[in-house]
């Protein structure tokens, strides 16, 4: 059984066609980097896998079933669109609310929810951060808490939306290694969304690259190549490999530029 299967899927966002007629499959247990420029449809794809939006065409299968909202087999970490609310609410409370927040009633955690929360916090090595207010944690520490949230409910598939954003190179490595290790140890498939390939090179089994409504999947060498990316971007693309790093260039302009700001 595959973790994710897309068969001729078309997705729209705000009336715009984001993906058209895209087919691919991701086997169980794989670590896949989801790449593409801003607006290429990475988040839209994740939302479709979560069952939050319906495809305009084609069929999606998640762990052998059609996508359903609230699927406990999927752990999700949304992109941090805004700064966390300046409250004293602790990391533990955030994980607890993810454990039982879909139920009605007063927010008192049950013993089972507490156990699940501590287990998830331990899995990401954040037990000692748990009692601190989330707003006071550093970017890397906060990402650990948010990954712990995604691990609640023992998911079989992790969808992580830009967990590396606003992290420096060292913290990016820590987060990738952590997710890689968790995925291997617990046999969880990971779809790791990023707009830059280089930090992911150490961990990914394959990459899924989105662009121009199309998708390419395969190993890094297969996908991150001039011909494939030229097709995805609809313009002439050169791929340069220097000292173990990959640079994607269009007309001498580097396309994945932003992330280098953090590099030392």
């Amino acid at each position: 059984m595959n973790a994710i299967e897309f068969a001729k899927v078309t997705l729209t966002y705000g009336g715009r066609r984001v993906l058209s007629d895209v087919s691919f499959s991701i086997p169980q247990g794989a670590f896949v980097g989801l790449l593409g420029a801003n607006g290429a449809g990475k988040t839209t794809m994740l939302r479709a896998i979560l069952g939050l939006i319906k495809p305009a065409g084609g069929a999606i299968s998640v762990l052998g079933k059609p996508p359903t909202r609230g699927n406990a087999d999927i752990g999700y970490m949304p992109q941090a669109r805004r700064a966390p609310t300046q409250t004293g609410i602790s990391g533990l409370d955030f994980v607890l609310i993810a454990a039982g927040g879909h139920r009605w009633g007063w927010p008192v955690a049950s013993a089972i929810e507490k156990e699940a929360a501590w287990k998830a916090l331990e899995a990401v090595g954040a037990s000692d951060l748990a009692r601190r207010p989330l707003a006071e944690l550093s970017g890397g520490e906060r990402q650990r808490i948010l990954i712990a949230q995604a691990l609640i409910g023992d998911p079989k598939l992790l969808l992580l939306d830009e967990p590396l954003i606003s992290l420096d190179a060292a913290h990016q490595r820590t987060i990738i290694d952590l997710v890689h290790e968790i995925g291997e140890r617990l046999g969880i498939s990971v779809l790791f969304c990023s707009h830059e390939i280089n930090p992911l090179l150490r961990a990914v089994d394959r990459v899924l690259y989105l662009g121009n409504g199309k998708a390419a999947i395969g190993s890094v060498d297969e996908v991150i190549s001039g011909p494939v990316l030229s097709e995805l971007y609809g313009t002439s693309i050169n791929v340069v490999r220097v000292a173990g790093r990959i640079f994607v260039m269009a007309d001498d302009v580097e396309l994945e530029g932003e992330a280098h700001v953090h590099d030392v």
Binding site: L52, Y76, P78, S90, A98, G101, W104, W106
Partner: protein, 274 residues
């Protein structure tokens, strides 16, 4: 020696402030947490033509006020993110006050009450009104307790809550209805224009000073009630309006909490973390 508690209107005022303070503190906490304080502000303004319109056709202003705020609450809840547009809210707010003015124009006998609706008149509250406020308050708190868990999740992390199966629109609409009821309660004390003072100032102060949700809600309720009580006493001593004192104390509490928060925030830096 006579005290302020010898007067029935003072006793009623204290009862009303206790009831409304508890409700405003609890509902206000979530309102601030969700960043929807201006939606709350707009709700109370929409209540103004409700109150004056009800007066025009011979109904109780409280009834008209509540109906209008609840309808507006459902509207804001259903609009969701789209309601977070300050221009739209500002225009609705202005139109509401304009309509209220028009209704007053047709029914000048109500004009003397208009100030009460706009700025509150806690010293004119009857025991019967206190009982109505108390029953409504219990209903609001029970309902808030029932939706608190998904509401908290949806407030802190809407995208994740949605993915985990929380019906965001339903939760946010139910909450805005509770805000509407809480607003018409608060209007009885501080009036349409000053609802912020009771709903937002204590809650925002509590959010700055506490960790944990339960502690935050408790502090928010205690602060709202305390501010209202002290304001009543000061109004009794000075003969200045209670609503003025509530705004003054609410603002002071918020400012002081900012200073406290800043001095507390300096500590962790000492251990080398930035």
């Amino acid at each position: 020696m006579s005290t302020m508690f010898d007067y029935e209107f003072m006793r009623n005022a204290f009862y009303a402030c206790t009831v409304v303070g508890i409700v405003a503190g609890a509902v206000g906490y979530f309102l601030v947490l969700r960043g929807q304080t201006f939606a709350g502000h707009a709700l109370s303004h929409v209540g103004f033509p409700g109150a004056t319109g009800a007066g025009l056709i011979g109904l109780s202003p409280f009834f008209g006020l509540t109906v209008f705020t609840v309808i507006a609450g459902i509207g804001i809840g259903l609009l969701g993110e789209r309601a977070h547009r300050d221009v739209a809210i500002g225009i609705v707010l202005t139109l509401s006050l304009g309509l209220g003015l028009l209704f007053l124009h047709f029914y000048t006998a109500f004009a003397s009450q208009a100030t009460n609706v706009l700025f509150g008149n806690v010293l004119g509250i009857s025991l019967r009104t206190v009982i109505v406020l108390a029953i409504l308050a219990v209903a609001i708190l029970v309902a808030l307790g029932l939706i608190a868990r998904p509401l908290l999740f949806a407030s802190l992390q809407p995208e994740l809550a949605e993915a985990r199966g929380v019906p965001l629109n339903l939760v946010s609409t139910l909450f805005m209805v509770l805000v509407a009821f809480a607003t018409s309660e608060a209007v009885q004390i501080v009036g349409v224009l000053l609802v912020f003072a009771l709903m937002v100032a204590p809650a925002a102060t509590a959010l700055r000073l506490t960790q944990g949700v339960l502690a935050g809600i408790t502090v928010s309720m205690v602060l709202a009630v305390t501010i209202a009580w002290i304001s009543l006493s000061l109004a009794y001593q000075t003969d200045w309006p209670t609503s003025f004192w509530i705004t003054a104390l609410g603002t002071s509490a918020y400012l002081v909490s900012g200073i406290v928060q800043r001095s507390m925030a300096r500590r962790p830096v000492a251990d080398g973390r930035t």
